[in-house]
Chain length 365, copies 2
């Protein structure tokens, strides 16, 4: 076994999920994530945790959903009981085809999803972490050779998370103390309020309220957005390529939009509900192990020297206890490159210029 | 997908497990049983059952067990809760290596197994069925080419189970009404008492208290065994080849043994405990879809024109309610070919001669 698979497992079990002796662990294994599952099982054995492995296959799900009449039982007892008694949920993504469920009707997906809300909540109540095993299908999605993709993925995953968490904490402190963020980059000039918001230091560990590995971003929930933003990182949304999406905001709401490609998808998203026209997230990518776009939002949005904004639902973690932010059925992230000709200001102080933070070498005061 | 995979799934879901709308189903999937899992998921969707898939990999288990300190938590809550809330448990065996756990110490296996007794009981309280997807590693174990093995496996699995169940019921009735069985074949001449015992018609369906697919045997729990038996079907026991095992019984107990090969393994088994020297099962194979030995007990013991006997533990199902039969930590089946020069008598009536039952064409009165 490639030693990096074992290192990935160690980061996941120890840094990300903080697994301890006696923890009841559900290990969700994708069909092509077998090798990582073996390495994780070894770590769980070492820690004295209790392992139950589940199988998450897009092809199995597709077959089940297409054959079902869509009248799904709500929160089946057996799965709910499993998750309610679980302390940790580790998802190891990895299949043979990232489009394995492409022909499942959207309505079926929605019905299935909405019948499982308590199961989902029970999962979110565990120390849950999602990661992916680098597979050939993910390499293909990233337009990369398999070995090349493995290098890329492990560079993103096998970071010195402790020191990155410390660096991200500097940005979190600035955001927590700040009231207004301004992003200037090329045609982008956007201001957002962040008073009373708490930033999340997404350091790929449940100890930081961060549930993805890799991670490496600091995010908060902005409001009262004004100005214009261009998302120049190419991506696929709902199966459609979108390029250079431009949004114009007035008092928190999108009042105009445009794109070089995929404008109709953006239009659809904005029409979802009232919340879809407001921002739910401002995220600042800080993982310099990610050195290119791979059209996989879990990696792209964490990339160093990028900033992303999400239309739609905001996370509770950014709001005072018991309060929720922008509500919507969607949460759609889009990314802008800030490595050149750009600055990020908090209350007028430049915190990042041309991709460099003010505490980094090369920051141009 | 090969149409036989879909037929296998249909037999498993409808005939074997009697899955109904709203059933909570746990589908245990081996790493190489993916295709069958897809077909079963489709059937479960059609039936409106609730599907949770678990992953059963020898390599994952090996990694976990070897890393663990053997001080296992008893019956972890999450897995116990899952099985207690399950109605149906379907196991789809199939890996890449039938020896995947060969280097897990026996003591570790025993400790793990004994820490999971309530989980096992909860699984046995469901409508559970075990089957295998024909894989390359099973083909290898059977010393067969892959395509050849698939033909073999589907011939065994895709029977007309309803009519086989009817035929097996004829034998069950004879056994239930009988007091003494005598088996004569070559050097074998053995008598066993079966008064008060109930035979199980193992027709590969929970409706018949039968939990393996394929199946196709009628079995009961004999006692007071006298005489000599030779098991001429070659097999592997505890990793050792055994050939022509001879056992001599007196008043129910083995008093002498011998073998052309593997005698020491037989000696070890007999030394396990007092119950290991007594019979726990007399089984009569009636699946004529199985036309050769493949050194896989799940198939071999069901083969038409064979009889098997097990040293060790007897099944409760063969005894009056609330009573148990021979107790032992082992249950070791061994098989004898009765296709030629043989007869099986119940209370002096010849019920099978040279492999033919008395209700079959070709039975020589």
């Amino acid at each position: 076994m490639d030693e990096r698979v074992r290192e990935h497992a160690a980061v996941l079990v120890d840094w990300s999920a903080r697994v301890e002796e006696g923890d009841n662990v559900v290990l969700s294994v994708g069909p092509e994530a077998h090798e990582l599952a073996v390495a994780v099982a070894e770590k769980l054995g070492e820690r004295g945790a209790n392992l139950l492995a589940t199988y998450r296959s897009g092809e199995v799900t597709r077959a089940y959903l297409r054959a079902h009449d869509d009248d799904f039982d709500r929160n089946p007892d057996h799965e709910l009981a499993l998750l309610e008694a679980a302390d940790v949920f580790l998802s190891l993504g990895g299949g043979r085809n990232t489009s394995a469920t492409a022909d499942v009707p959207g309505e079926t997906r929605r019905d299935y999803r909405s019948a499982r809300s308590e199961i989902r909540e029970a999962r979110y109540d565990t120390r849950w972490v999602s990661t992916v095993h680098p597979t050939r299908s993910l390499a293909q999605q990233a337009n990369m050779a398999y070995e090349e993709y493995r290098e890329f993925a492990y560079d993103a995953i096998l970071r010195d998370w402790e020191s990155l968490a410390e660096e991200m904490d500097r940005l979190k402190t600035r955001l927590d103390d700040g009231s207004e963020v301004r992003l200037v980059s090329g045609e982008t000039d956007l201001t957002m309020r962040i008073d009373d918001r708490t930033a999340v230091n997404s350091a790929a560990s449940v100890a930081y309220d961060s549930h993805n590995l890799p991670s490496g971003e600091v995010f908060t929930a902005p409001y009262a957005t004004d100005g214009e933003v261009v998302f120049d990182v190419p991506m696929t949304l709902r199966g459609e390529a979108v390029r250079n999406v431009r949004l114009e905001f007035d008092d928190g709401e999108v009042v105009d939009y445009d794109a070089d490609q995929g404008a109709s998808v953006i239009g659809e998203i904005l029409e979802t509900d009232a919340g879809a026209r407001r921002l739910g997230e401002l995220g600042i990518g800080m993982n310099r192990g990610i050195d290119r776009y791979t059209d996989n939002i879990l990696f792209d949005e964490k990339m160093g020297e990028t900033v992303h904004l999400a239309l739609g639902r905001a996370y509770d973690a950014n709001h005072p206890d018991g309060e929720s932010g922008n509500d919507s059925a969607v949460h759609v992230d889009m990314i802008t490159d800030v490595s050149e000709d750009s600055r990020l200001e908090i209350d007028g102080d430049v915190i990042q210029r041309n991709g460099r933070f003010r505490w980094e070498d090369g920051f141009d005061e």
